[in-house]
Every structure is written in structure tokens, then in C-alpha cells.
């Protein structure tokens, strides 16, 4: 089954537009030099709204930990069960993390600590999402 399709809003549209161009672009606060994801109206650390800009990142990370969803609540994903849900930390700022189903990694066989690279996956017409793939 296809994944659930994100519905961009005013705040998130630049992020999803970048994803649709196969770029991972997150907010960067130039006042305190911190990356921020998901996007917010203001910097989580210093509260500045004016100093936030969008910044493309390399899209490299590591698997922190994972679970396997065996009985989730989301109808559209139920046929996929069991499936991995991993927590990915971004190498450029490890305080930023992402979820991933780790395409290609069988359930329960997640190499915790392994390096990953962002990839992009189509979930609906003209809509990609960011996913992560283990780097061999």
C-alpha cells in the first residue's frame, strides 16, 4: 500500500517543494547556527523568526534506534505490517532527527548505528517524501 500523503501548508510548503525536487532542505537559524526540522515559525533555541532561512543539507545520517510496527492505527499502512520505523539522526546536526521505514531493510533486521543516505519516494501524484537508505 502507498504511504500517507503529506498535505503541505504555508509553513511547510518550501520544505515539501524542495523534497519534490529531490533536495532535503531544513530551516537554519543564522542567529544561533542551528538546524531545525520540522519547520516552525521561529527558532526553537533563540526564538528568532527573522533569522530563519532554508538550507539544503547533505542528507547523511545514522540509525539511532528502531521499532517494528505490528499493530498500528493508520488504516493505509496496515497492509504493510510488520514494517520498520527507524529514528535517523542527521550527521550535520545530531539534534535533528527524522523517521524512516528504511526501504529495502527487512523488518527486525535494522542495523542500528549504520550510516544512511536520504532518498526520495513517491507517495502520491506529484508528491515525494524523504526516506533513508542504508549505505553499503
Amino acid at each position: 500500500m502507498p504511504k500517507i500523503i503529506p498535505a503541505p501548508d504555508d509553513l511547510s510548503k518550501p520544505f515539501w517543494d524542495a523534497v519534490n525536487e529531490k533536495r532535503l532542505s531544513v530551516q537554519n537559524c543564522t542567529a544561533c547556527d542551528r538546524l531545525q526540522y520540522p519547520p516552525r515559525q521561529a527558532c526553537f533555541a533563540c526564538g528568532s523568526a527573522e533569522k530563519l532561512e532554508w538550507k539544503d543539507v547533505e542528507g547523511k545520517g545514522h540509525i539511532s534506534t528502531y521499532i517494528v510496527i505490528e499493530d498500528g492505527r493508520l488504516n493505509r499502512r496496515m497492509p504493510d505490517q510488520p514494517y520498520n520505523l527507524a529514528l535517523i539522526t542527521l550527521d550535520e546536526d545530531t539534534s535533528v532527527n527524522f523517521y524512516s521505514n528504511l526501504p529495502g531493510v527487512p523488518p527486525y533486521e535494522v542495523p542500528v548505528g549504520a550510516a544512511v543516505q536520504v532518498i526520495f519516494e513517491e507517495v502520491g501524484p506529484d508528491q515525494l517524501i524523504h526516506e533513508w537508505q542504508v549505505v553499503d
Partner: protein, 437 residues
């Protein structure tokens, strides 16, 4: 001129000792029966009927009459009701004769509805938008301390009906908006099971141990639940959970098992909260409120990690201890939230109950945590032992301080008690005392 919102929360660091410490007391409580679900036909088992029953029992317990009630604080968010979002709307449906000719009284209850049905003639304070019980008892304590009312019923209804819990609504949609756009595409519906299972895994990696080390705690919660006559487990003929039952139970979010999750129920509970002065003339020994505190921390990224969870719970513990003027060694009864078993270790270690430090919980669980032992952790049995009433932690604390907990009565000193319905990120804590200071 617009009315300013009532600022009752103690939700910032460094507030010092609560100025009303010991001046408010719990004088009574009442529980309805706890059913798995409302069957949609038994009118004496609706959430409204159960809430009225709980109020009547609380008044009877305290020895007060309806005309003495001048405040009603009722949480109007009933778990799988509005707080569950559209995933758990129960309306519309066929209705009945008044007062059940709308959703009110069936699966929705609020202060106004209860005042009318209970025919309380002197209520002058029945606020709307009342938060869940994690903060609600704090609202009640502060309201009484501030003179908004003097004798207050505090009600927490928890509803459940036929069908899989929170299936439907936005959980059944193909698109995800708002905060869900950052979690739903990957399968995370955003509940506290997801929020806490990742830090729990990190906890096991950091401090050593496996998820199965939670088993003694879960089993003991069920044991304490079977010692709680009003709870779901004891009143439904459930048998004691064994280690085999636990480790062989099915996974929900592997490694989180079904027995790590509390069971949604249909029930209501009420507390009679009043001034310490009035409580001393009522039927039961007063249980004094020594502090209430709240917190609402913001996560910095997609998923809180262990460091963030530990920082939040440390701050919540500091706030509570500071406001109560007490420290870890002063707390006799400790009833943290256990709606998912994997949260409780974070609270235990933050509050350092019985000297438990970061990373020590699994060894503590493996020791003697029975109510008759030296470390009667979570003597209530919590939600895991009683169903998702979210009230067992408070009721047990009151009973332990009164000395009326029956087979759950601890054998250690029982003069102070900490109770909570809270997650690491948001909620509140209550400190109760057998004595006002």
C-alpha cells in the same frame, strides 16, 4: 473589558514553595463501576450516569450534601472523545429520552450538565475547558485556594465504546496535515506509545537491559490492580498476569507489547476537594494538598530522544519538590503514570524515589516492589492494573494516607504521596500529605 484568563498553573521553574501548601484538602472520592465499553443500551452505564454516581459516592464519602457543593470541575475531554480527534467521534447516533436526547450524558459530560442533573442549587463555579486529570486536580486546588469556591466536585470521565480504539477519522485518511505530515507518512500516529518507545530503546542501549526487564513492573501493576476492588481487572474476574503471559503477548510496536498498554474503559471518578479548614469537620480524615505543578515542554525535533525526556522529567521533579518543600527521601507513596509501561522508569528516576538514579530502574523492578515490601512502587496498580481510568494513582494515594487501602495498604510509612497522570512532555503532578505541613 475582556476578562483575563485565570492563571492557575504552576508551570514554570523556580516558583518556590506553594503559598497555599496544606490549605486545601481532598475529603472524599467516588468511583463508578469500570466497564470495558458502554453497550449503547444500558442507560445506567452511560458516562453521564456513571459520573453522577461517582459524584454521589464522593459526597457520601465526605459526608456532604448537594446543597453544600459550590464548585464543579469536570474534564470535558473524555479520552476517545474529543481528545482523540476525529478518529474517535462517537456522534451522531440514535438518541433517547431526556436527559439522553443528545451526545451529552452519553459519551460527553461537563460541569453544566452535571450541575443540572444532580440538581446542585448553590454552584457558583463550573469552569469550561477543564483539562485532563493530570492538571485538573491542580486547577481544583488552586481554585479553592484562590477562593473561587470552597466545596468542589472534581470529575474525570473516561469513555469507551464498541469498535477498535481510535480507528477512523484522520487515522483512516490518505492525507496528513498539520503536525501529522511529519509522522503519518512513516506510520507514526503520534501517540505516547510512539513518543516514548524510542527513548525507551535508547535507555536500554545506554544503561543496559532489555525490554523484558519491564516485566516485573507490569506484573506487579496487575497484582496491585487485583487488590483494587473498583478497578477493571478486579471487578472483571481477570487472573494474575504471569511472566509467560507477558513475554508471549503480542507486539503492538515491537518491542512494546499489548500488556505494556493500558486498556481503554468506560468509567468515571469524582473527588471532593475543599478547604483544609472545612475538611477537618467532614467525615474522613483530610488528605492535604502540599503542592500541584504542571509542565508542557516542547520537543526540538521530530522525535524526543532520551536526553530530552530525562531533562523534562528532571525539571518536572524539581518543580514539584520545590513547591512542596520536600525532597525524594520525604515521599512515601509514589504513583506515577503508567499508561504505557515504558514511561514509568523516566519518572521513577527523575524523582529519585527510594534513591533510584538514572539507569537503576530495571534493577529496582527486579527487587521487591510489592505493596507489602520495602519499596511499594506504584501501589495503585495504575492504569495497567485497573484500566485506563487515569484515576487509580490519585485514589490510591488518598487511601494510603488515610490508611484505608485494604490489602494494598503499604507497610512502610504513608504520610506523603506523589500522584500523576502525565507524560514526560506534558501534564501535572500532585503532592498529598497526611498532615498539612
Amino acid at each position: 473589558m475582556a476578562t483575563q484568563p485565570y492563571k492557575w498553573r504552576r508551570d514554570t521553574d523556580g516558583l518556590g514553595v506553594w503559598e497555599h501548601r496544606g490549605k486545601v484538602a481532598v475529603a472524599g472520592f467516588g468511583h463508578s463501576p469500570v466497564n470495558r465499553r458502554w453497550d449503547e443500551t444500558s442507560m445506567d452505564q452511560t458516562l453521564g450516569a456513571y459520573s453522577m454516581l461517582a459524584c454521589e459516592l464522593a459526597m457520601e464519602d465526605a459526608g456532604v450534601t448537594p446543597d453544600q457543593i459550590d464548585g464543579v470541575i469536570c474534564c470535558d475531554s473524555h479520552i476517545a472523545g474529543s481528545s482523540g480527534g476525529t478518529a474517535s467521534n462517537w456522534a451522531p447516533r440514535p438518541y433517547f429520552e431526556p436527559p439522553y436526547d443528545s451526545e451529552w450524558g452519553l459519551t460527553l459530560v461537563n460541569g453544566d450538565w452535571l450541575v443540572k442533573q444532580l440538581e446542585l442549587p448553590n454552584v457558583k463555579y463550573a469552569p469550561s475547558n477543564v483539562p485532563t486529570i493530570g492538571e485538573m486536580l491542580g486547577l481544583a486546588a488552586q481554585s479553592i485556594a484562590d477562593g473561587k469556591c470552597t466545596t468542589c466536585l472534581v470529575i474525570y470521565p473516561t469513555g469507551n465504546m464498541e469498535g477498535r480504539y481510535r480507528r477512523g477519522g484522520e487515522n483512516a485518511q490518505d492525507h496528513a496535515d498539520g503536525t501529522r505530515q511529519w509522522t503519518f507518512p512513516w506510520g507514526n500516529h503520534g501517540g505516547n506509545d510512539f513518543i516514548n518507545i524510542f527513548p525507551h530503546n535508547q535507555y536500554c542501549l545506554k544503561y543496559g537491559g532489555t525490554h523484558d526487564d519491564v516485566a516485573p513492573f507490569v506484573i506487579n501493576q496487575h497484582r496491585n490492580g487485583l487488590l483494587t476492588p473498583w478497578g477493571y481487572n478486579a471487578s472483571s474476574g481477570m487472573v494474575q498476569l504471569t511472566e509467560d503471559d507477558y513475554v508471549n503477548s503480542r507486539y503492538i510496536l515491537n518491542p512494546l507489547r499489548i500488556f505494556d498498554c493500558d486498556r481503554p474503559v468506560n468509567a468515571s471518578a469524582a473527588y471532593l476537594v475543599t478547604t483544609a479548614e472545612r475538611a477537618r469537620d467532614m467525615k474522613q480524615p483530610p488528605v492535604y494538598v502540599l503542592n500541584h505543578s504542571q509542565h508542557n515542554f516542547t520537543q526540538r525535533t521530530t522525535q524526543p530522544d532520551l536526553d530530552e525526556i530525562e531533562e523534562w522529567t528532571d525539571r518536572a521533579a524539581t518543580r514539584m519538590y520545590e513547591g512542596a518543600g520536600l525532597g525524594p527521601a520525604d515521599v512515601d507513596i509514589f504513583n506515577p503514570y503508567d499508561g504505557y509501561s515504558i514511561m514509568s522508569q523516566f519518572f521513577l528516576e527523575a524523582f529519585q524515589w527510594h534513591g533510584v538514579k538514572r539507569g537503576d530502574s530495571f534493577a529496582f523492578y527486579a527487587d521487591d516492589i510489592r505493596v507489602e515490601g520495602p519499596h511499594p512502587f506504584s501501589s495503585s496498580g495504575g492504569n495497567l492494573g485497573n484500566g485506563r481510568t487515569r484515576t487509580a494513582m490519585y485514589t490510591d494515594s488518598i487511601e494510603q494516607l488515610r490508611g484505608t487501602a485494604g490489602p494494598r495498604q503499604v507497610t512502610v510509612r504513608a504520610e506523603t504521596a506523589l500522584a500523576a497522570f502525565t507524560t514526560p512532555s506534558s501534564g501535572g503532578w500532585m503532592m498529598f500529605g497526611k498532615h498539612p505541613s
